[in-house]
C-alpha cells in the first residue's frame, strides 16, 4: 500500500516535471534558419528579419535566424550541404545563374505573384516551369563614365579622331552621348582618355577592365557578346567560335593589349574596377549596378558619374536575381513557407529597399528613385535590354569555364582565334 502511494507520488511528480518542460516548448516559436551572404544584402535582410520576428513572426509562431556565410564561399558551403541532403538550414541563398544546379534540392514555391516582380528576375528563377526561389535583389550592368570628361570630347574633335585612327585604325568622331555608343565609340573614347595616347588626359587609363579569371567577370563580358548580336548558343549548339564571338573577345583583347586599361587589370574584379574609377585612374567601366552608391559618393566620380546601357549595336545587359529557396530536406517546411510568404509581400520588400537592398519589385524601385537615382535605370534597362542565359543546370559552370578559357585572351596572352574553339568545347562539355 505504502509502495503504491510512493509510486503514485513519483509518477505525479514526474508528470509535473515533464509537463512543465514540455509546456514552454509547445508554445515556443519554430526557428527557421536562413542562409544569406554578408554585405549590403545581409545587412538589409537583417532589418526585415528583425521586423518579422517582432511582429508577424509572433502571430505565425516563427522566429527567423539569419546565418551569414562568407561572401566568397556561401555557394561552396551550400553545395556541400545540399549534396549531403542536410536539414541544417531551412532556406538557402541562391541566384538565377545557380538555380538550375540547386533545383534538385529546393522545394517548389507556390503562390508567388509574378506580377509584383521584374519579369526577367522572377522568370529566371523558374526551372522546368516551376518557381524554385523567391527573388530578392536584381543585378545588372551599367556603363559608368565620368560626365565631366565626356563633356570635354567635343572641344577636342581633331585629337579624338587622330587617336581613334592610331589605336583602332578607324575614322571616328566624338560621341558625347554614351547611351548611343557602339563599342568602337567606347574604345575610341577610352583611348582618348589614356595618357599613353593623350598625355593631357586627366586619367591614366580610359577604361577599367575586370579581366580576372572569375565567373562574374564573364557575366560582364557577356554584355559585349550580346551587344554585338551574339549568344552562347545557336539552335542548342555552342556559338562562340564565330565572327561575332571572336569580335566580342577582341573588344576586351584590344582594351588590354592597346594599354587602355592597367596591365594589372588581368587580376581585377569588382573592387579593383571601382577603385580605378574613384581614384581617378580610369574614365569608364562596365560594372554592376551595385557600384552606383559608392561611385556616386566617392572620390573622382563623386557627383560626376554617369550611367548608360552597355554599348553595342543593340544594347543588352545581363540580369540576374539573388534569391532564397526552400530546402527540400528542411524539417520546418510549413514555418519556412510562412516566412517566405511574408518576404514576398510589398511591405517586407519595402523595408528591404529602405535598408539598402535592391528588390526586384518595380513598384518599390519607382517609389525610391529620389533616394537612389539608379533605381530608375534598373527598371528601364531590365525591361528594355535585360537578358539571362538559358543554359540550364550547368549555367553557373559555363560562366566559370568561359572565364578560365577566355581570360588569357582578355588579357592579351592569347588571341580570339586561339580561344574561341576551346570556349565552344567548354560549353559543349557542360551542356
Amino acid at each position: 500500500m505504502r509502495l503504491k502511494k510512493t509510486s503514485i507520488a513519483l509518477v505525479s511528480a514526474l508528470s509535473l516535471v515533464v509537463g512543465l518542460a514540455v509546456l514552454p516548448a509547445a508554445n515556443a516559436a519554430t526557428t527557421v534558419k536562413m542562409v544569406l551572404w554578408p554585405g549590403p544584402e545581409g545587412d538589409a535582410m537583417q532589418k526585415v528579419v528583425d521586423a518579422y520576428n517582432t511582429s508577424q513572426g509572433k502571430k505565425d509562431g516563427v522566429t527567423v535566424k539569419m546565418i551569414l556565410l562568407s561572401r566568397d564561399n556561401t555557394f561552396a558551403k551550400e553545395a556541400a550541404l545540399m549534396k549531403s541532403k542536410s536539414s541544417e538550414y531551412d532556406i538557402y541563398f541562391t541566384a538565377s545563374y545557380l538555380v538550375g544546379q540547386h533545383a534538385p534540392y529546393l522545394s517548389d514555391l507556390k503562390g508567388v505573384k509574378d506580377s509584383l516582380y521584374l519579369k526577367a528576375s522572377v522568370n529566371s528563377l523558374k526551372v522546368a516551369g516551376k518557381q524554385k526561389a523567391l527573388p530578392l535583389d536584381t543585378s545588372l550592368h551599367f556603363m559608368y563614365y565620368r560626365k565631366d570628361l565626356i563633356a570635354s570630347l567635343s572641344a577636342n574633335a581633331a585629337k579624338y579622331t587622330s587617336i581613334a585612327k592610331e589605336v583602332l585604325g578607324k575614322d571616328l568622331k566624338p560621341n558625347t552621348n554614351p547611351a548611343t555608343w557602339s563599342w568602337d565609340d567606347a574604345l575610341a573614347t577610352a583611348a582618348f582618355f589614356t595618357q599613353k595616347y593623350n598625355p593631357d588626359s586627366p586619367t591614366k587609363y580610359g577604361y577599367a577592365l575586370p579581366a580576372k579569371n572569375l565567373l562574374y567577370n564573364t557575366m560582364i563580358w557577356n554584355d559585349v557578346l550580346w551587344g554585338l548580336g551574339g549568344n552562347w548558343l545557336k539552335n542548342g549548339k555552342p556559338n562562340l567560335n564565330t565572327a561575332t564571338g571572336k569580335a566580342a573577345i577582341d573588344v576586351y583583347n584590344t582594351i588590354y593589349t592597346k594599354g587602355l586599361t592597367s596591365p594589372e587589370s588581368s587580376q581585377w574584379e569588382y573592387a579593383e574596377t571601382n577603385s580605378a574609377l574613384t581614384s581617378g585612374n580610369a574614365a569608364m567601366a562596365l560594372q554592376w549596378n551595385a557600384a552606383y552608391s559608392e561611385l556616386s559618393t566617392t572620390g573622382a566620380t563623386k557627383d560626376q558619374v554617369g550611367i548608360a546601357a552597355p554599348p553595342g549595336k543593340g544594347a543588352r545587359t545581363h540580369v540576374h536575381a539573388l534569391a532564397v529557396g526552400l530546402n527540400k530536406f528542411s524539417k520546418n517546411q510549413a514555418a519556412s513557407a510562412k516566412w517566405m510568404a511574408y518576404l514576398a509581400t510589398v511591405p517586407a520588400m519595402k523595408k528591404y529597399a529602405t535598408a539598402g537592398g535592391v528588390p526586384s519589385m518595380p513598384s518599390i524601385l519607382t517609389g525610391m528613385v529620389a533616394k537612389n537615382a539608379s533605381f530608375a535605370n534598373i527598371i528601364e534597362y531590365a525591361g528594355k535590354y535585360g537578358y539571362s542565359e538559358s543554359a540550364g543546370a550547368r549555367e553557373f559552370d559555363i560562366y566559370a569555364a568561359l572565364a578560365e578559357v577566355l581570360s588569357p585572351a582578355w588579357s592579351g596572352q592569347k588571341t580570339s582565334s586561339d580561344v574561341a574553339a576551346a570556349a565552344d568545347a567548354a560549353i559543349q562539355k557542360l551542356l
Binding site: 549534396k83 579569371n213 581570360s407
Partner: protein, 293 residues
Amino acid sequence: MSVTFNKERKVAGWLLSAPLLLMLAALLIWPVYLGVKTSFTHDVLSEFATYGAGFENYKNLIHQPNFWLSLRFTLLYAFIATVAEVILGFALALLFDRVFPGKRVLFSLMLVPIMIAPSLMAVMYRLILNENIGIIPGFLQRIGINFSIFDQHNVFASLIVLDLLEFTAFTFLLSYSALQNMPSEIYEAAAIDGANARQVLTRVVLPMLKPAIAIIFLLRILDSIRTFDSVFILTGGGPGTTTQTVGIYIYKTAFIYGDFGLAASAAVVLVLLLAPFMPSIIKQFNLNQGGGK
C-alpha cells in the same frame, strides 16, 4: 609473472592511446575514407542521384589538361618558393646566431608573418598592392618607378615573393632552433684547427645540420604543394589557368563545377603523389633524433 605484466602494459598502452586513436579515426581516417569512396562515385551537384562509377573519375582526370597544368604550376611554384625560403631562412638564422643589440625585438618581428593566416595576408596584399589605392604602388609611382606587380608577366614572381614574405619566418625559426642545438665545442674545435668562417659553415655546420635542413625542406614543400588560399585570393588561378594550383583545381571542380567525384579523385592522386615524401621525412627526423631510437 613477466607475461602478465607485459600484457597489462600492452592493455594500458592501448587504453591510454585510445582517446588519441579515436580522435585520429574521427578526424582523419573517416574523412579520408569518405574522400576515397567519393572518388569512385558519380557525384555531381546538379544531379540528385549518386552512384558507383568505378575508375571513371580517374580516367577522366587523366584526360583533364587543366589538372596536369595545375600540377605543373604547383610543383614549380612549390619547388622555387621552398628552395628560396630554406636558403633565406637559413641565412637569416646564421645572422641571428650571435648576440647583437635589438636581437630580441627583431626576432619577434621576424615571426609575425607566420602568426597571420595566409588568407588574411593575401587580402592585406591585395589592398596594399592595389595599383589605384595601395601604399606600395603609390610610393613606387612617386619615386618614378612604373612597375605593375600583378601584370601577367610579373604575377608568378610576385606570388613567389609574397610566399617568401610569409613563410621564410617558418624556415628561419626551424633553422635557428637547429643552430642553437649545435654544441659550442664543435665551433671551438674548428677554430683550433684554423678553420675560417666559410669553412666552418660549409664543412661543419651544413653537414651537421643536413638532416634538419632536409626536414625543413620537406615540411615546407609539402605545405607549398597544398597552397590554396593566398593564390586563390590574389589571382583566382588566372589569367586563364596560368597560376592555378592543384588546390584551386580541386576547389573549382567540386564547388564551382559541382563534380565532387572528379575533385575527390584529384585529391586522392595528390595524396598519392605526396605520400612518397613521408618515409623520407620520418627517416630524416629519426636521423635528427639520433639514429632512430
